[in-house]
Symmetry: none
Amino acid sequence: MRESSPDKQEAILETALTLFTERGFAGTPTSLISKEAGVATGTLFFYFKTKEELIDTLYRRVKGEAAKEMGRGIDKEKSAKAKLRRLGRNAAGWGMKNPAKLKFMEQFAHSPFVSTSAHEEGMSHFLFLEDLVRQGIHDGEIRNVEPSGIFCLMASALSGMIAHALSTDDRKERERIIEDGLDFIWFGMKA
Amino acid sequence: MRESSPDKQEAILETALTLFTERGFAGTPTSLISKEAGVATGTLFFYFKTKEELIDTLYRRVKGEAAKEMGRGIDKEKSAKAKLRRLGRNAAGWGMKNPAKLKFMEQFAHSPFVSTSAHEEGMSHFLFLEDLVRQGIHDGEIRNVEPSGIFCLMASALSGMIAHALSTDDRKERERIIEDGLDFIWFGMKA
Amino acid sequence: MRESSPDKQEAILETALTLFTERGFAGTPTSLISKEAGVATGTLFFYFKTKEELIDTLYRRVKGEAAKEMGRGIDKEKSAKAKLRRLGRNAAGWGMKNPAKLKFMEQFAHSPFVSTSAHEEGMSHFLFLEDLVRQGIHDGEIRNVEPSGIFCLMASALSGMIAHALSTDDRKERERIIEDGLDFIWFGMKA
Amino acid sequence: MRESSPDKQEAILETALTLFTERGFAGTPTSLISKEAGVATGTLFFYFKTKEELIDTLYRRVKGEAAKEMGRGIDKEKSAKAKLRRLGRNAAGWGMKNPAKLKFMEQFAHSPFVSTSAHEEGMSHFLFLEDLVRQGIHDGEIRNVEPSGIFCLMASALSGMIAHALSTDDRKERERIIEDGLDFIWFGMKA
DNA sequence: GATGAATGAGGCTTCATTCAT
DNA sequence: GATGAATGAAGCCTCATTCAT
């Protein structure tokens, strides 16, 4: 009865991610999460005081992980164009490899279930992207318009692009969608 | 209390829209909707067999209205560029005038609460947009890439742009955001 | 399934009184109350927002009823002595006839489950008793000491007396206990 | 945090007393007791097999201590009157010095949480009081009525008196309440 | 058409208790 | 002796839905 799993908390988070993605937040009882995770009801509440805290934790984690993946190797690139392209490919790559996490973020990006503070923390991970745009403008590569606007447009276009890419299973097709999408984004902002 | 709705059904729909936007589907009991709408609990279920039917009806309505508004006056324009610009301005204008409805659509675009059929019907209203892109490509105004991809990019960028525009109260600022956004979208796709 | 009982609320209150007396507040689940009262779980919460509100309502009712019974016919008596004796007999009579209510009051008089406001309202019903003592002092029938002190002593002695009387089933014995108790109280305060 | 208890068991008992008084039995989780006492959850259950055993132990202790304090120096007094007065002063003194313990006893004297056996043991400590009354009757100092009745009246009046005395912070006032109360009790029973 | 009291399945959370370390 | 992660039964309460009036 007393098991040796070193990481019940991890099991809960992982299970919750999948279930939330499949059934939504309200459609996923905590009892189902614990059952699927192979722990007792009480265990979930030992690690997360409330269901909301579990959601929040998950949201912060996934958003943080996504941001980290997106930034990978950016510094090695010289021009804003190259940096953005790398970033876009990173994002697409992460989304392709983690469709559940992507769906989770999409689903809850606008959800009132996610606390405001989690949303803010989530956003903060992507601030470096705005700096990148700012630098591009300064260097004359990007059109001189409000950086936060470009950031929004880029972020939403990127997200739409990845969702679209995920709708096909064909690798070639996906790559084409991504390259076309990155072109769209770059032409949209370049000086 | 709700003097502008002679019709109870209308009062329910209107109230539900506001409440869903503020509190989400799961956070809005039908009892609260009927109370705020000034009708009895039973009345809501006379007009809508289930809560989900109410949600679906609302979703279809709002999506349909948005699509109708976006298409207004498009035929008068000649070039794809002009058509798209008009369409973008319509969308932005509608969003500015109906922030609650916009928020509703944003929040529930990915929600499992909305039935698949409602989602599909919602999407169908925007198919004319894809035709528009197709025509633009044929006329050489738009780059020759998969139209559905452009459609996705445009739609998500538009939505991000409007959300960003709504974050400020300054009319001038809003207009600037919208014009910059429409430029971004156009440059992104033009041949 | 839909019954015609005109007074489910009353059934709930009555059942709750008995069960609380037998099992205490914490030992009585709301589910048991509704089951024994022959109503659905939800019905209890339709009439009482929370379990605590049910307790409070019950406490106020019982205390109010007790106070009313105690005051019955007091005005007809002339002297303080006669008034107090009548009051004491009323109290004892009520306690004998309503042992469950008495036990309920005893049990929860000091309980943190009963809200402060309910306790205060409960006490307020007995203020007339303090006035009675004050008048007795003024008329020289009762020793001139702080009336609130006498009130406390009298109230607690009365309550102890009734509890003691209830411990026997013999009517004669009970009457003796009551008369002896009323003597005790009167000699304790008379001038 | 709790530096005065070298013994964990003692710390648990002390903490439990305070918490039970403030929040009632049902409102005080064992986890809170152990946390406040600075021990692990498991430790509490090493010393007390169940929560009820902890409650019982506490109840027996407090009741025993109270009885012991009340009886202090009684033998030195000659007359029943003097013995009772001494006993009353002892009781009042103990109550003033141990308001938490007093409140604990008041609150749980009628509680179904306390086992029957603990209640009986608690009562047994006060049997000497009944003997004292019996002796007073035999010596002609106390009215010849059923001793157990007098015992009940005296006990409840005493308890009401102490509660009342505790409601003021003024030392003079308190002493007056106690002396008046002891008069009340004595006049109530004297021959 | 309209009402709102009534239903009861089911959700979230608490907490006494256990036991491997 | 002591710890605290883990358990799971059980409690309070919500809320979509029904139906007699």
